[in-house]
Subunit: 395 residues, 2 copies
């Protein structure tokens, strides 16, 4: 195969930085704050087992047959009913995880060298999902409240150079944990509408709020100007690979066609099982237990950071929900270099650089507070502080 | 959204011809020979239910957590063990149906305007899966034994114009039901190796043989020159969306990266359930029952065609396995036009034109003999003959 010619994009394909780190850190005794793995304690095993049996007994062969690309009708209806604005189930497309929704959106919107706007930093998996279309990802300046609308307008471009889409994750963002304020949302939607730039709103963590629910989604403010993405990965379990998108009716058929071509349909058995688990309001009872657990673990991590990082010039975010917080290291400390020293001390994190579409800040890193237990979090943050001190001494 | 600019490819995206036909034919009382739906009688419902319970009891949360993009190790091992040449499990990538394998291969091999070679006719779903990369699909002349190797060489191209891949389905092809002979396989692999053109071998139906097993796969003859695709859809159940590819080690990482970007991983629960169902040789006992059922239904359809089409200038293939046969209508009868008359008479089929990358033969159509029962097949073929006669009278 040495004489095979690959697509130009293949030369740019590299293993996911996060997945490579997960391999690096897969050693006995390590405490990983790296992955974005929901706590397995939150998976509703009994309900899931019962639903498997119900679906097989009730639906039998229908659950195992080919199915429509749009998704299982009762699940599409349940998704429409869950959302806080008027959604027709015909606008709901069930996807194989919300990662697939990104792939489909990339196929429908992006040509080679199309401009697309992303936050600074942004979700690494979105950059990877869009990469096969070889767009130019433009990093819009962002602060603790999210994307800066003035810079959004400045970077929107015009004519053939106009951005094809803007990808944003307003609630408890991956990787920073930050949340867009009400005012910022209103301003962004107004500007995107004015400029005619579709907002791709990714909301996998929106239900995982700790104090108050976050402001209404961007899409609720202008459903015809946005594509909304959601997921059952963080409120039920990620191994099911069940996500969804909600699109304006005019664009839905193109996304559906991309879905047909990508994998025909999302496993029908999984769709039926989840529809069975969530009927009768299960999520209303279940999600508060996830919120309570993650809030406690966030509190543990924040307290440990306060304690262990004292005297070090380290800064971090204080997320109001979700799974991650974002750390900025002292001047001169490179997160990638620090990782080796941290792994030696049995703690792992994800360096922040891969989350930047342009101009990475190499002093940043992402910590998850949902996979490890509170005890492990305390141990890990102490080890991380030790690693930083050791690194500074060396430096 | 009227002012949104879409990717150039989006203008070429159309609903799947087959899926649109399935909607058209979704009326009460119709007998559909159109879809490629495996007989639900063949789905191992008890074994699947038992495996769901075993997996949940044994693996619990691990079955519902995020998993590796490569796939569940015991399933990769089982796939490697199933195949009739030496396969390292590290070469096996589990995909969300074999349709996804096509999407990944397209991303890794095809640029806009890359040439790719396909059979005449070819699997429509492959054309759709490759379409987002905007290749030029070149139709290689084919006869009852498969692709013509001389024409393959003539159309291979050179330099920048050299074909990036050749997509072939050697066993009981969708749509024609034909099988490549031993001699043709040997000649094709030799020529592809000489020219350095990767063979993409799709083998979803290979186990469904009626008399003798088909000749060895192309990939078994030159594993470094081929990518092999297989599926559990036709030997277990399609609603699980479980397929796989086997790739040379040098190209595997690129396909893996495309997989990560596309949907992170195939549902881990489904992978564990299938690994559980197939351990201890279940397929060795189960697949013969599918073969027997489909052989009987093929015989029924062939006998009905002999009887009902007598005196009409209609020709058809006699598949030695698989799910489909291919019909050529009398001169002047267009299959698309005939479909309306057939649906009036409560029988549906798929017109052949969408299966051609170039120069469609509009007198062709595809019939499935696996979804409808033998009684229904007899009724449907009689109705089809009536429709042809009515159409000819009109014409």
């Amino acid at each position: 195969m040495t004489n095979w010619t690959l697509a130009a994009r293949a030369a740019k394909m590299n293993p996911s930085a996060i997945r490579e780190i997960l391999k690096l850190t897969d050693k006995p005794g390590i405490i990983s704050l790296a992955g974005g793995l929901p706590s397995p304690k939150t998976f509703p095993l009994q309900e899931f087992t019962a639903a498997c049996n119900t679906v097989m007994a009730r639906d039998g062969a229908a659950a195992l047959q080919y199915a429509t690309s749009e998704g299982y009708a009762p699940l599409r209806q349940a998704v429409a009913d869950m959302l806080p604005w008027t959604v027709d189930p015909d606008q709901v497309l069930i996807t194989t995880g919300s990662q697939q929704a990104l792939d489909l959106i990339g196929k429908v919107f992006l040509d080679k060298d199309s401009r697309m706007l992303v936050e600074t930093p942004t979700y690494l998996g979105a950059l990877q999902a869009f990469a096969p279309q070889e767009p130019i990802a433009v990093s819009v300046a962002s602060d603790d409240d999210g994307i800066l609308v003035e810079d959004f307008a400045a970077k929107a471009g015009t004519g053939a150079d106009k951005a094809r889409l803007a990808y944003v994750l307003p609630n408890f963002q991956n990787p920073t944990g930050r949340t867009m304020t009400e005012a910022r949302r209103a301003a962004l939607v107004a500007k995107a509408t004015e400029l005619g730039i579709p907002l791709i709103e990714d909301n996998p963590y929106g239900e995982l709020w700790f104090g108050d629910a976050p402001p209404a989604p961007l899409t609720a403010r202008n459903p015809d100007g946005c594509i909304y993405m959601g997921s059952f990965s963080k409120v039920l379990a990620p191994g099911l690979r069940l996500g969804f998108l909600v699109a304006p009716k005019a664009i839905y058929p193109k996304l559906l066609q991309a879905k047909q071509a990508a994998d025909l349909h999302t496993p029908g058995f999984n769709q039926r099982v989840v529809a069975e688990v969530i009927r009768d309001g299960f999520l209303d009872r279940h999600v508060p237990t996830i919120r309570a657990l993650y809030q406690q673990q966030r509190d543990t991590m924040l307290a440990a950071l306060e304690h262990e990082m004292a005297g070090l010039d380290v800064a971090w975010t204080r997320p109001a929900g979700g799974m991650f917080l974002w750390v900025r290291l002292p001047e001169g400390v490179n997160a990638q270099a620090l990782l080796a020293e941290a792994v030696e001390r049995n703690v792992a994190f994800v360096p922040g650089a891969p989350f930047y579409a342009e101009h990475p800040d190499t002093r940043t890193l992402r910590l998850s507070y949902v996979t490890a237990s509170s005890d492990e979090i305390r141990t890990a943050i102490a080890a991380l502080a030790t690693a930083i001190r050791a690194h500074q001494t060396k430096g």
